[in-house]
């Protein structure tokens, strides 16, 4: 035992040195630091006015700092403080080097794995495993001499000579979780930068990914929900429902369906039973959005599921989570197919369980949302930190080769202003889009009677809202027989590649069968769509791999226009969403190879067409 005591004294004396220096400027009677949100950073600049026609804001709803145990084990030392600072455009230290975004973000939720965040609190629980330790006994001794001796030894003081009744109340203790929430609140600056309290629920039975990020509208919960509590998403939903009942609005966001081995969008529940109406209703009430791309690849579709989509082969991830095991099943793993399956289930259950809006995140374990391919420092600590190893490696400790990780994922939100309230409302109504890390702004509307060439009018956005629905919305059955008209507007990332084309992806379901079709609807230059297939030829490629450069001599800065679905069938259920493609630009791994004067890793594409996906607009036939 004496070894433990010596250690204790050693550590405590080190703490004491710190503590005394921290207190040196402080009056002992001074009040504790305020942590209320209203006290958070203010700006001397006036808050921008609300825009009823909405602005696009960019952020990340899926990021791990060093508070996540796996990230910390990878050598990542960033804290959530660093994460918010980096997102706001400040320079932070990552793996020993300063890192800064070229374009700051508008919002962020740090979503650390909470499976370990609560441990410190457990250790302090007097009813918990340490409640019967010698230290605890000494602290709580009714004999003043015992406790006094203990404290004398530690702090050279006899101030405390009686038991501390508060110590038996765990609520008095600032747990790691509470501290984590306080950090998020501190960086929230309405009108300028929004921070959300969030965490990741990390359920992966047999490495098959069922993870969900949980994002709170404003205040956070007393305690998060962990995969130690349950691996079943239905139990997580119960937790979310309870939070809402207690006045804390909250959503869950499933991610990496691509690594779920068919479980994420399965027509069966966790116990293997077919989905029920109640399940579908709860799933949609709890999870309005799904994550379409992140570091571990995209979950839009795969070349296997969409053989006629020539752009499907983009940032594919073939592995189960944290392993080198290849997923066996594509079916049930991708969102596009789930839109069809959801409509098939809707016919049986009356509710579509997969009516997901689209968002994207990073899932980086670096603590920093570094989605700029030309400014990418790696994303998983020492797993992908050394450029030479990364460019040549075919495996890693964590399983997958590090070059297979993408530099992507940002969420775009159309909201009136940059506040928690306005952004969260947009997340819930699905007026959102996801990008592969670039800052393309894209919005889509649909209506039955939009005027031709309406986008030529200066106030077309207002007309589009007034005469139809924005992305995330539902088209009600038409008066006439003509198909709906879509208005799409895409503006390039001013620091990125020009735009190649805008496509509308249509998944229609009738008599229990679903089919998908990709329409090229807007494109740059004077290319002509193929008369038979309707496909517009490839844009070309200006990327010089050796130097990792490209030119914006092809493509457009902006694509805007209307498209009417001429093969509309009023009796079919339809999900429509838009995809915007940039011209090819160097992949992050190509930038790294060029710096080292090495050929890029042959296992990944040298150039990619960065992209954005909108939330869908749905059509449901009249009964």
């Amino acid at each position: 035992m004496s070894g433990t005591k010596d250690r204790l004294i050693l550590v405590v004396s080190a703490i004491l040195v710190l503590f005394l220096s921290a207190c040196s400027t402080k009056n002992a009677e001074a009040p504790a630091p305020q942590q209320s949100q209203s006290q958070s950073m203010q700006s001397t600049q006036p808050r921008p006015a609300r825009n009823p026609l909405k602005n696009a804001y960019f952020g990340d709803l899926h990021l791990h700092s060093g508070y996540s145990m796996d990230a910390f084990a990878f050598g990542t030392r960033t804290t959530p403080e660093d994460s918010y600072r980096y997102a706001m455009g400040e320079s932070v230290d990552y793996m020993g080097k300063p890192q800064k975004r070229i374009a700051p973000l508008d919002f962020l939720a740090v979503t650390d794995h909470v499976e370990y965040l609560g441990v410190v609190r457990d250790a302090l629980d007097p009813n918990g495993p340490f409640g019967k330790t010698e230290w605890y006994t000494m602290m709580n001794s009714t004999d003043p001499a015992v406790s006094a001796t203990a404290f004398k030894k530690l702090i050279g003081s006899t101030v405390v000579n009686k038991p501390l009744p508060e110590f038996s109340d765990p609520k008095m203790l600032r747990s790691t979780w509470e501290k984590y929430e306080a950090i998020a609140d501190k960086y929230n600056a309405p009108g300028k930068f929004t921070s959300f309290i969030g965490f990741e629920w990390t359920s992966a039975p047999d490495f098959q990914n069922l993870h969900r990020c949980v994002i709170f509208a404003d205040k956070g919960p007393a305690m998060p929900y962990t995969a130690f509590d349950s691996l079943d998403p239905e139990d997580l939903w119960r937790y979310l429902e309870l939070q809402r009942k207690q006045g804390l609005d909250v959503i869950g966001i499933p991610h990496n369906g691509n690594a779920s081995n068919g479980l994420m969008f399965s027509a069966k529940d966790m116990s293997g039973k077919p989905l029920t109406r109640d399940y579908a209703e709860r799933r949609m009430a709890n999870e309005p959005l799904a994550e379409i791309i992140q570091a571990k690849g995209q979950s839009d579709t795969s070349p296997e599921l969409s053989p006629t989509d020539e752009f499907a082969n983009f940032e594919m991830w073939k592995y189960l989570i944290g392993t080198s095991i290849h997923a066996k099943s594509a079916t049930g793993s991708y969102i596009r197919q789930a839109y069809g399956v959801g409509q098939e289930l809707q016919a049986k259950l009356g509710i579509n369980p997969f009516k997901y809006g689209i968002e994207a995140g990073t899932d980086f374990h670096s603590g920093i949302t570094s989605t700029e391919a030309s400014n990418f420092p790696g994303s998983h600590g020492n797993q992908d930190n050394d450029p030479k190893t990364v460019i040549t490696a075919t495996t890693s400790v964590a399983g997958e080769p590090p070059t297979a990780l993408s530099s992507g994922g940002l969420t775009g939100v159309w909201a009136e202003e940059n506040t928690r309230e306005s952004l969260f409302a947009a997340l819930k109504r699905k007026e959102t889009f996801g990008t592969s890390g670039t800052r393309i702004k894209v919005r889509m509307f649909a209506g039955w009677s939009y005027l031709k060439d309406m986008t030529q009018q200066a106030d077309w956005v207002k007309a589009a809202y007034d005469g139809g629905v924005p992305m995330g919305g539902d088209l009600t059955p038409p008066a006439g027989g003509a198909g709906p008209t879509f208005v799409v507007h895409a503006l390039k990332d001013p620091n990125g590649g020009n735009l190649d084309r805008v496509q509308i992806i249509k998944i229609s379901t009738k008599n229990g069968k679903s089919q998908e079709k990709v329409y090229d609807v807007l494109w740059s230059g004077d290319r002509k769509a193929d008369a038979k297939t309707g496909k517009v030829p490839a844009i070309g490629n200006t990327v010089d791999v050796k130097s990792a450069t490209y030119t914006n001599s092809i493509g457009s800065p902006e694509l805007i226009g209307e498209w009417t679905d001429s093969s509309f069938d009023a009796k079919a259920n339809v999900t429509y969403y838009a995809r915007v493609l940039e011209i090819p630009t160097p992949r992050w791994s190509t930038y790294w190879a060029a710096k080292l004067n090495l050929p890029p890793n042959p296992g990944v594409a040298a150039s990619v067409q960065q992209r954005a996906w909108t939330s869908p607009i749905w059509y449901t036939p009249a009964k």
Binding site: G3, L8, L10, V11, V12, A14, I15, L16, L18, F19, A22, C23, T25, K26, A28, A30, P31, P33, S40, M41, Q42, T44, Q45, G66, M69, A73, T79, R85, G89, A103, P104, Y116, V120, A123, N127, G128, F130, G131, K132, T133, M139, I155, S157, V159, L164, F167, M172, M223, Y225, D229, R238, Y239, L242, K245, H489, L491, K492, P494, S556, P557
Partner: protein, 293 residues
């Protein structure tokens, strides 16, 4: 709920310190072989049971049923058996995750100690003066812009831009810019737009160029990520370092963060003092590989 006495006590730094001490002990108990448990005997205590019950009830907002409760207890015993066996086998040694987790737990503590510090205004002022760039109010620009889409003008872009520039300067403030240039979903007029907003909307290149533009006359073309712009700058409010009162919370936030980093480092150096560190062969291992060939 809380009595004044308790409120006062909660604010008492000494209490914070004592609680931290308890955390340290807990952390060390995790690595220590000396736990209060007897070997070969597992006792699930009343306190542990109460804690498990409360945690379940808090999460589900209901009490566990009999089956769930027995399941929780079974799992608790199973966890304890594995935990003890793993410790007995020394599996906590040389485990990267366990080692780093424990490091992290101690760092959390020094973070908390740093959070106790209350800076005076003088200290915050000194910090503000030492790091003016962190708090500088951004420059703000009042300007009008007309866009030329390179895709539409092709090789004639430079000539078209020159002609339009001449026209704009001839017509001066009478020019109707709503009908000039090519359409793009960007506003044509901005009133005191902060530099960071300019960068978000127009990109880096354009923002850098903007600061150097003379006032009162159409200039350009200024290049952005979209193409070429003709710009009439009417006001540049230069960046400035604000008074402490204006940015107090931001300075406090940065000051806290600096203290946190400092505390972590100081804490480590204090601990390190108690160790004699021997590194057997500090030369890079490369050398040994080469010599063994």
């Amino acid at each position: 709920m809380m009595t004044n006495f308790l409120k006062k006590l909660v604010r008492e730094p000494l209490l914070h310190f004592l609680l931290l001490g308890a955390v340290i002990f807990a952390a060390y108990s995790l690595v220590s072989k000396h736990t209060s448990a007897e070997p070969g005997k597992i006792v699930v205590t009343q306190g542990q049971l109460a804690s498990m019950w409360e945690s379940f009830a808090q999460n589900r907002q209901r009490e566990p049923n009999r089956e769930e409760w027995e399941g929780l207890i079974r799992e608790r015993v199973r966890e304890e058996v594995y935990y003890r066996e793993a410790l007995a086998l020394g599996m906590d040694k040389d485990d990267l995750i366990i080692r780093r987790r424990l490091q992290q737990k101690l760092e959390f503590i020094s973070d908390d100690v740093a959070a106790q510090a209350q800076p005076s205004d003088d200290e915050l002022n000194a910090y503000l003066q030492a790091h003016p760039d962190l708090f500088r109010v951004e420059p703000r620009f009042t300007f009008r812009q007309v866009f030329l889409n390179p895709e539409k003008h092709g090789k004639n872009l430079a000539r078209d831009a020159e002609e339009l520039l001449a026209k704009l300067n001839r017509e001066g403030s009478k020019a109707d810019i709503s009908t000039l240039g090519d359409s793009i979903m960007l506003d044509k007029q901005f009133d005191r737009l902060p530099a960071s907003e300019v960068a978000k909307q127009f990109g880096e290149k354009f923002t850098t160029a903007l600061g150097g533009l003379p006032l009162g006359r159409w200039q350009g073309p200024v290049e952005s990520g979209y193409g070429a712009h003709l710009v009439l700058m009417s006001e540049i409010v230069p960046g400035s370092v604000p008074a402490l009162a204006e940015v107090r919370d931001a300075v406090r936030r940065e000051w806290d963060n600096a203290r946190r980093l400092e505390a972590n480092d100081k804490f480590y150096r204090e601990l390190l003092k108690h160790y004699t560190v021997t590194i057997e062969n500090p030369e890079p291992p490369k050398k040994t590989v080469a010599s063994s060939k």
